[in-house]
């Protein structure tokens, strides 16, 4: 798996992501600066978390207009895999590569805590090392993770099976209490229609080693590495 991590000014989670990708793939990912426009040869483009451009205007709005985005769109158009985490998910929605938007958390509080995620489908390159319906723990840290889309879009996403993960209780129940940021229908992560673009707010890359307190996020990266093995 040849992976590249896109780094915008203000991004701060790229090293965590590199650790998770290297552990899964066996070699270091390429770091891609936001001025670069050539992503040829990459199987997976990762947009990590952070505060690109200081979250000016809207989270992800500036990054969505940066030079590298043209190359990322082209990568998506040729069926390449993209993973956007946290600010990366916000950037993917601002760029129109995933529908909807991430609003301020309904509580107005910045949420820095663990959450439980339910795997809504396991037949994708991202989730293949999880069981369908499995519940796993993931850290999250965001102020704007409240997923919003109009009802017609939400119905379409559900109908087409594009919801990747939902916020649930440890037992796997979809409840308002498990949905700390107020996301529509407890949506924590979404796929593109070809299932090759995944955006999610929580940080599975921060739980991939016993030294981090657990390995709940590791199957995502191991699954990707297996799916994209050359």
């Amino acid at each position: 798996m040849k992976a590249g991590i896109v780094v915008f000014p203000g991004i701060n989670r790229e090293r965590d992501m590199a650790i998770a990708l290297e552990a899964a793939a066996g070699h270091k990912p390429r770091m891609v600066w936001h001025h670069e426009t050539d992503l040829a040869g990459l199987d997976l483009v990762v947009i990590p978390g952070g505060f690109s451009y200081g979250d000016y205007l809207r989270c992800g709005a500036m990054a969505a207009q940066s030079p590298v985005m043209g190359a990322i769109r082209a990568h998506a158009a040729r069926g390449g895999h993209i993973l956007g985490v946290c600010n990366g998910f916000q950037i993917l929605t601002e760029a129109g590569l995933l529908p909807g938007a991430l609003l301020r958390n309904a509580s107005l509080r910045f949420l820095s805590m663990d959450c439980w995620l339910r795997v809504e489908r396991a037949d994708t390159d991202f989730a293949r090392h999880y069981q369908p319906g499995a519940v796993f723990r993931s850290p999250m840290a965001h102020g704007d993770g409240n997923y919003f889309a109009d009802d017609a879009t939400l119905d379409r996403l559900e109908g087409e099976g594009l919801v990747a993960f939902r916020y649930v209780t440890q037992e796997g129940a979809v409840t308002p209490e498990a949905n700390r940021n107020g996301s529509a229908r407890n949506i924590a992560g979404l796929y593109s229609p070809n299932l090759r673009v995944l955006g999610l707010m929580p940080h599975p890359e921060d739980l991939v080693d016993p030294l981090m307190g657990g390995t709940d996020g590791k199957p995502l990266f191991d699954g990707l590495a297996a799916a994209l093995a050359a």
Binding site: L57, E94, R104, L108, F148, A149
Partner: protein, 85 residues
């Protein structure tokens, strides 16, 4: 011309910031405050001197960057540039 772009969350999109401001006003003793909504105001100095062309430019900027039409609506006002001095 000067363009003043006002960006607001669409009706029906939860505005927790507006709610919090409303609650704070209530706590300060301001009675009779109904719904409060918070938005953004962006002022643009444009080289364009024709008001309608300036409006069209500002609307295009709002559609492409200043507003996210999934969640926000915008309106544009055009005014003469204030020349200092």
């Amino acid at each position: 011309m000067k363009a003043i772009v006002t960006v607001m969350l669409k009706t029906g999109v939860l505005d927790p910031q507006g709610k919090a401001i409303g609650q704070a006003l209530h706590n300060l003793g301001f009675a009779g405050v109904g719904e409060v909504r918070a938005g953004k105001l962006i002022e643009l100095e444009l080289a364009e001197t024709d008001p309608e062309a300036a409006r069209a430019q500002a609307e295009e900027m709002a559609r492409r960057l200043l507003a996210n039409l999934v969640i926000e609506s915008f309106r544009v006002e055009i005014a003469p540039l204030e020349i200092p001095g």
